[in-house]
Subunit: 157 residues, 2 copies
DNA sequence: CGATCTCCGTTCAAAATCCGAACTTACGTT
DNA sequence: AACGTAAGTTCGGATTTTGAACGGAGATCG
């Protein structure tokens, strides 16, 4: 399998990763959720090749995760903003943050704190079941084939 | 910045991605959470180079995400199992699944259904605030520098 | 007016990474 | 003896990624 084949897989993980499954793409998304919007800022903060920044931003725009919009004329300058589809990636970033905070934060604590505006507390994200509201762990989940897979498709496990 | 520098960044996203931030690594983790445990199975399901499978599994073992343990003698054969640290990656995979289900599932629906053993319902994961239990979206979060960053470190935004 | 600066890219050769295919080891099976 | 299985390793060529330079459209400086 090649990278480009991922989007065709009958698997939501594969199809998502075809868009965001790349280190720099995810780093760009991290920055975007922190408020970074401009090409130069991404390039400077990440310290990576400009062509990679270009390519990743273009892909995210093409996939509807980001929107490229002018923020001034003469000369025209654009900034990249999250669409609703992009905002829905927040749980992905938060899940990654939580894991990193738990296993890779030093003695001092996490590098970034996040406050929930709703209740005013510093928090971390917890995943709960959409139906009963109870926390969900790996062992609480039973996966089975869903309707989106053709019968002749290769089995998932 | 190079890939290897990610682990040194004062950022939980970067440090996590240094371990799991790779398409194939995340695909391997997807399979593991579906119950796949053996080298041959990963290689066959993903259809990627055996050397990549080797390298990724070794990294995950070195980082304590997976455990390599013999499941038979003569000849010795090993399988890869999630450690507790690895099980804690479940929210990451689930967040990716949810996004893919929402934006890339076809008419028919998602390719895989997941049932919550606790309540018996098919569900999707919802992220809530650890403090107040209310759902959290990107707009509800205010990030600021935490204790794990040295004062002289470069600012996060 | 000419020089330099900013922002947002593009181009290109060199370096790093990835891939497929074959090979290896160590057993079991027919 | 020949074949099959599980779990890798090796290696040359294909693909990606990178750094560094270049472009261009306007703004600002002197």
């Amino acid at each position: 399998m090649k990278w480009d084949d991922l989007a065709q897989e009958p698997c939501s993980v594969a199809r998502s990763l075809a868009v965001i499954g790349d280190r720099w793409t995810l780093m760009i998304l991290r920055d975007i959720f922190l408020g970074v919007r401009r090409f130069e800022a991404f390039q400077a903060r990440l310290g990576i090749s400009r062509s990679i920044v270009t390519e990743r931003l273009n892909l995210l725009v093409a996939e509807g995760v980001l929107e490229r919009r002018p923020y001034q004329d003469r000369p025209v300058r654009h900034e990249y903003r999250l669409t609703d589809k992009g905002l829905d990636l927040h749980p992905v970033i938060m899940a990654i943050v939580d894991w990193g905070d738990r296993y890779y934060a030093g003695e001092a604590g996490p590098p970034i704190l996040r406050r929930h505006k709703g209740c005013g507390c510093d928090f971390h994200a917890v995943q709960v079941c959409s139906e009963c509201g109870e926390p969900v762990t790996a062992r609480d989940v039973e996966a089975r084939q869903g309707p989106g897979v053709a019968p002749e498709a290769k089995p998932v496990a």
